[in-house]
Symmetry: C3
Subunit: 420 residues, 3 copies
């Protein structure tokens, strides 16, 4: 090294470990997705784009069956014994009570025993252990790793580690990404879709604002169809930093004829990112980007036009210094719901929110909670069921569930989804 | 608002949420108790005064059966499968290892899977979520919420939230109060009563200082009867701040002819509160308030007169600045047991303590532990059994336990309690 | 007390509690071991020297059977129901993610429900509770206490508390030491031995660097035998402070004709302690103490001579002020492996490490991981199986496992160990 070379500390093994996978990271998702499947079945769940529309329908069907079976003791007993020999590690170094508890409950429904590491500082990492050594330790003791990390790409890297171990005849377990950096949160997208699937079947008063009154709604909205296609989806709030918005938008893009309308302040931090816009346009999605729920869409104010409205929290914990000043000029009240706005929405249009909502900001004040369009509490419970369905898929017991279900109920279809 | 109005911050949604229930809080307990029951059965467990004497006898009977069944593998297998499809949330934002573990064990005896949130700062509350949103999230994933909070009335408020949800056709789960503010700790009172119930049956050498020697004791104490009625109960130490004292006293007041003797320094923080005194007097309880275990009761020193002695820890962690100076003048040694005092107690009189005891204060020095009257370790294990019985009651499986018990053992009565 | 006596604070009850057992602590291990057994079976697991060579063989056999049974659903179902009525407390006031999770998984394999207390400050100890009161509380609620503590001798003291309770007819549960002070870590030694047992059977390609090629190896090394006797074991790194080194060395000393070679800097903190050296010599073990992997043993460099190599991490978190200066002169690079060194090792010699390894120090760089001699990841999973075997032993269900195993597989021997 020449004398005048700048002195930089050598990279840590943790940094080298991520660099090692850089060329694999850089590939487009469709190119790498096959590596995360095995026998037509997801092995590792990392990106929302791994879910095809067919798979989304299958998972929803499994979730519906689990939910129905859970209502009676015989079904509960069947479910609780399905995977009671499996042990999961929930490795959550980025806190999230809601996602954590939802996965815990999902595991417990199928009898999976849960273990957790939630604070990196209490783990062996303080003794100098690399993250990959930690992951490999977890894979020694447990049968599944559900992980949430502030480090972008870490879940993906861990999936490569597992695949490389499998390739050399070593023990390897599935990785499920429960939130990775600012990047991906595929199971949140899954529960959002599942909530929309149930709403737009119009078969249950709990899942659809107008319940089973589909024919009645059709008299007022003749072009309305069951299912997720041919609808207008509004997203409101922190579009730029909301990974749940990104993941859901990507999944909706797989349905026919959807329109996505993004309502956010005209600010680079908060509005639609260039990469997502490009990908959506490339897939033929119709996009609107506006700064108000009153902005016109096809000649009517957006709030009156959307078939579903996805509200979000302004993630102020991610504000950087430069944001504070520029945010001061924004009128954030435009990104909050109130009774007047809700009254103008379509009667059947569900309101979703990934939760938690912010009581100080007030994007959805509690006065909305009693409105039949408020679907955000229902959405949380949907998350538990669809995550249980995902675990059943990964562990290849979904067919067992289906078989038991039909033995119990014959040709009876799961409630909620009488798919069309 | 006039220009000169004082600037106070607007109330938070959390504060508004509690205010919303203020008029319900303010009602007397007997008026609200029916709302916390369903079909003659407790739905939410909030106040010790919800337990009638009949219910206390029923719960003790269930606890005795669970305890007996736990001694053999067939009974264990029955119990562990009773509620294995249920998931509990232990939401303990006020720490208490002992109460927490006791509830965990109680759940596990019946097969209930436990989940926990113990640190409010790691939960979604840091992202601005209201406590009611958190509770509703828990009720989405779990079948029971056992909660302990520094916020007075919070458990009661959550029960109203659940009742209001049920009334509108939404999902709703039982709330069990495991300690709420300085206020109520109903399951501690339950285990105290259960310990006294077992002691005063004189059927087990483990539960009664003199075991089965009831007839022998009666020769010396001819007026002695089985059961909790017609007895003198001494309470010693931090009477003013001990919510366990308050809760137990309220329950004992339901029994016939009891005398309650409170031994505490003559200091407003530490002695009997006015509200409790009034309620006890209104129910016809005979009360003594003294500042020493040597004070005379019916002509004899209190220590020689009590049928049971309930010791407590001075809760110095709740001292306020003003207390420190005034406490300096108190001779706290008078509120500690020693061998000499115990030797003078009635031979059959159990010593209880809600635990933990304070090694630095020394209200019960370890030299007492081997005395047969020391019932405080037994008391802890009783807490686990009676909490399991309470869970069985809330989930309506107590009759199943009773049926299985009698199939196994015929007309044989549970050990401990051959009720009279 | 004379006026001029020095003022020292009186001892706390916690300190008195430990002093109370001082005379029992001071006895040699063989004298006290019988107190920790019951009916020829370990009741409390405190010291590695409680394991005889026969017991080590038995435990390995049970571990092998558990492992084989875990491969099929019928075996899993059998195991998971074996002890599902038992509840364990993992009381880890000294952090160790790895040991903690390994015990969790071991419990779960047998169906034991786990509970944990990991932070003394959240427990009742902050309210003045003694450690013995805490332990007795745990024993009220749970059926087993697995404990790890920074306080030397605490696990042993707790075992005496339990024995004294049993002697007076009180409830008492087994204590398992998962690391106590700088002193003992018996289950780590157990898993190290189990890893060597499997390696030196030469029956599985996963457990032995050269797999089943025993006869082939024997052509080059004619004196080689199966099993742990007559071998040279190298230990490298922090010999002085490594309690895993101490515990393993003590167990190896029970085998015939072993040579132990300790490679450490010539520094009193890091090199072999006098007490251990004396005990090993007294048992007839041949010992080498050198400061380099290149030092000659029987005429060849140590690295080429060892039959197994046990690497360790320099425990810099235990450095005291005086160490820092004197350590500066040490060339620590001599205590790190690299590809060149590994290439010179015997082809069948396993490399072990108690883990975690230190990425910053680099005693085993990741480039070694793919070498067939690298047995340290396998070792971690072995720990789970052997701990499950230990639990089965303590709860007296190992014979049930053996019976079920032979019903399933007839005379088929467990994989891995066809003992000789």
């Amino acid at each position: 090294m020449p004398d005048d070379a700048p002195m930089t500390p050598p990279p840590t093994q943790d940094e080298l470990d991520l660099l090692h996978y850089q060329s694999r990271f850089d590939r487009p998702i469709p190119m790498k997705a096959p590596e995360f499947s095995r026998d037509e079945r997801l092995r590792h769940v990392l990106f929302s784009r791994q879910f095809s529309v067919d798979m989304l329908e299958d998972l929803a069907g499994t979730a519906d069956m689990i939910r129905d079976l859970s209502k009676a003791r015989s079904g509960q007993d069947f479910l609780i014994n399905l995977l009671h020999h499996k042990r999961a590690m929930l490795y959550f170094t980025q806190p999230s009570t809601r996602t954590f508890l939802s996965f815990m409950a999902a595991c417990q429904i199928l009898g999976i025993t849960c273990n957790e590491v939630r604070d990196a500082s209490t783990s062996s990492e303080t003794k100098g252990e690399t993250r990959f050594d930690s992951i490999r330790m977890f894979s020694s003791y447990f049968d599944l790793i559900i992980m949430r990390s502030p480090v972008a790409r870490l879940a993906e890297a861990c999936a490569y580690v597992m695949n490389d171990l499998a390739a050399t005849g070593n023990r390897s377990v599935p990785i499920i990404n429960a939130g990775s950096g600012a990047d991906q949160h595929p199971t949140q997208a899954l529960l959002d879709i599942y909530t929309l699937q149930r709403s737009f079947q119009f078969v249950s008063p709990k899942d659809s604002p107008l319940g089973t009154r589909y024919e009645e709604i059709r008299r007022e909205h003749p072009s309305l169809t069951r299912g997720l296609s041919h609808k207008v989806y509004g997203f409101c709030g922190d579009i730029g930093r909301g990974r749940t918005v990104r993941s859901l938008a990507e999944l909706l893009a797989g349905y026919e004829g959807v329109t996505l309308a993004f309502v956010a302040p005209d600010h680079p931090t908060l509005s639609l990112g260039d990469d997502l816009r490009e990908r959506l346009l490339a897939r033929g999605v119709r996009i609107f980007e506006v700064d108000s729920l009153e902005a016109p869409i096809d000649g009517k104010p957006l709030i009156e036009q959307v078939d579903a409205l996805y509200m979000t929290r302004i993630q102020k914990e991610h504000n950087v210094a430069a944001d504070v000043e520029s945010f001061a000029k924004i009128d954030f009240d435009r990104y909050k719901l109130n009774r007047g706005l809700v009254a103008r929405m379509k009667s059947y249009a569900p309101i979703l929110h990934p939760f938690p909502r912010d009581q100080h900001f007030g994007e959805i004040p509690p006065e909305i909670d009693a409105d039949p369009r408020a679907m955000y509490f229902r959405q949380a419970r949907n998350g538990m069921w669809i995550r249980a369905a995902l675990l059943a898929h990964v562990f290849n017991v979904d067919h067992q569930i289906s078989r038991f279900y039909h033995e119990q109920f014959g040709a009876w279809k799961p409630t909620g989804l009488q798919r069309v």
